[in-house]
């Protein structure tokens, strides 16, 4: 394993120190392990808190700031944060109007956030949880852990964050977050696995001509392997799956996220976005907004995910609202 680190055990702590040094506008609590807007709490404002394993940067710490998250709790690499951490962040940013937890649907994240929410309730903080489960590569079923949360997390955090910023009530902020999630579908491909500092070797091995189809952002293997195909075919397959899984039809407007998983160059992401635009145009789906870049990553995994979110006027308005975070910034 070759990485720019010191000791594998110190990666998260040292990266947090770097984040703190790089962003004076953030408050990083190294002991409690959370990243907060330094101007939080805002009295009367609903606060958004998210978190999850590290290794997905800029998610979540890079999305803390005006118009998006009030705090983020980074766990160890690919490991959900612990309840104490989430509780500390929740209390630190609560402005009395309640806190929305944005939680990606992984067993560990769900349980740790649930425990934290219960502890917060004991201390008088009302928490609403928005569960993100957009990864339609995973079969949905009440008998399983359900679908994973991936790219849509960014859109939930942006849109719900904007509503909170303009004074939305706890129930409204949570509701629009859930709506965005329900209207979103994602699908990912990996060309290589990422390497966690602790494991020191790639999470899985892929032959030189094969890809993981439907891979997860923690290097969870996908549902199957395939021979590598041209980008245009991969995009078509992914969009077929997405449009089948969600009711996105001709005439609908969408936000598209073409998201790199960490090791894929931007030139490929743009090429893929071009293919997405072609296919969606054929289907009569209008791309109202789009993001192309590395937003929800999986360490150094070469791969990408495509997220499509069917949007309303209100969602678009909130998406366009100013945001000022290390990882996403406009209008400010």
């Amino acid at each position: 394993m070759k990485k720019f680190i010191n000791d594998p055990n110190d990666v998260v702590a040292e990266a947090l120190a770097g984040l703190a040094a790089a962003h004076p506008e953030l408050r990083v609590d190294p002991a409690e392990r959370y990243v907060a807007r330094s101007d939080a709490p805002h009295a009367g404002k609903v606060a958004l808190v998210s978190g999850g394993g590290s290794g997905h940067e800029p998610l979540h710490g890079g999305f803390v700031g005006a118009g998006m998250l009030d705090a983020a709790c980074p766990g160890e690499v690919f490991t959900s944060p612990v309840p104490d951490q989430i509780l500390a962040a929740t209390k630190a940013v609560d402005g009395g109007a309640g806190v929305v937890h944005v939680v990606k649907n992984y067993t560990g994240d769900v349980m740790n956030f649930k425990m934290a929410a219960e502890l917060a309730a004991d201390e008088g903080v009302t928490v609403e949880t928005v569960l993100v489960d957009d990864d339609i590569a995973v079969q949905d079923s009440t008998w399983t852990a359900g679908r994973r949360g991936t790219g849509a997390t960014l859109l939930v955090e942006k849109i719900a964050g904007a509503l909170a910023e303009e004074g939305g009530k706890l129930g409204e902020v949570a509701a629009i977050g859930r709506e965005v999630n329900a209207a979103s579908a994602s699908f990912a491909y990996a060309l290589t696995a990422g390497t966690t500092p602790a494991a020191g070797r790639p999470g899985f091995d892929l032959p030189d001509d094969e890809i993981e189809v439907g891979v997860g952002i923690h290097g969870e293997p996908g549902r199957r392997r395939e021979k590598l195909r041209p980008a245009r075919e991969l995009v078509r397959s992914a969009l077929d799956a997405i449009l089948e899984a969600k009711p996105i039809d001709s005439g609908d407007r969408v936000i598209v996220l073409v998201n790199g998983l960490g090791g894929t160059p931007l030139i490929e992401l743009y090429l893929v976005y071009g293919e997405v635009a072609t296919v969606l145009a054929e289907r009569g789906v209008e791309i109202s907004r789009r993001l192309v870049g590395n937003y929800v990553t999986s360490l150094d995994m070469a791969g990408l995910s495509i997220t499509v979110t069917r949007v309303t006027d209100e969602m678009l308005r909130l998406f366009d609202a100013p945001v000022r975070t290390p990882g996403l910034r406009w209008g400010a």
Binding site: P83, T144, A145, T196, A198
Partner: protein
């Protein structure tokens, strides 16, 4: 079981988790995200520090604090699950420095109930439950049959091992491995394996 034995058990778990961390991580890499070994090692290292530095008021207290430490340090799925299990075990025990074998059996049952309540897994889902449940059944049966702790613990460890190995053929329906669907079959569940380590440690430290 007295406070000293409880501590001895947990130290043995810490040693065995540290020794097998790479193996657990390898199992978790195959059908999960490759952190189970590191997660538990981090958690039980913290438990060891706790055991070193704390005056415990009783056996239950040892387990309650152990559970709390695991919840605070492990993260992931296994942190809340094992943490809640140990907390429930500790809370179910009567106060005081010594507990009886039936007390312990009842505590272990409370631990399993906590895992089930929190995680919602049923037998066959390819989780911790698939080692824990048969281990508990063997333990209870031995206790009812009049066995002493060493024998009950040995039976529980055997049953946990069988249960863990039996997860190989299962298709996961809970936890991260469930995303793999049928591809999860053919691999032993990391959590069931660490549960086996925990029961094996109890058998080892009580062995005559």
């Amino acid at each position: 079981m007295d406070v000293t034995l409880a501590i001895t058990w947990l130290r043995a778990v810490a040693d065995s988790v540290a020794a097998d961390a790479d193996e657990l991580t390898k199992l978790d890499s195959a059908i999960g995200d490759g952190d189970h070994g590191v997660n538990l090692r981090r958690g039980f290292t913290a438990v060891t520090a706790l055991l070193d530095g704390t005056e415990f008021t009783g056996v239950g207290d040892v387990f309650v604090r152990t559970g709390g430490t695991l919840i605070s340090k492990v993260g992931g799925a296994s942190g809340p699950l094992y943490g809640s299990a140990f907390r429930a075990l500790g809370k179910a025990l009567p106060p005081g420095p010594v507990v009886t074998l039936p007390d312990l059996a009842g505590g272990l049952r409370a631990g399993l109930d906590a895992v089930s309540a929190l995680g919602g897994a049923i037998p066959g889902d390819k989780t911790i439950v698939d080692a824990y449940r048969p281990a508990l059944a063997a333990f209870e049966e031995a206790v009812i049959g009049g066995a002493a702790l060493p024998e009950a613990a040995a039976g529980a460890a055997r049953a946990a091992g069988d249960g863990a190995r039996a997860t190989i053929s299962l298709t996961a329906r809970k936890g991260r491995a469930s995303y793999l669907g049928e591809r999860s079959a053919g691999h032993q569940d990391p959590g069931a394996t660490s549960t086996w380590l925990i029961f094996q440690a109890l058998a080892d430290v009580t062995a005559p």
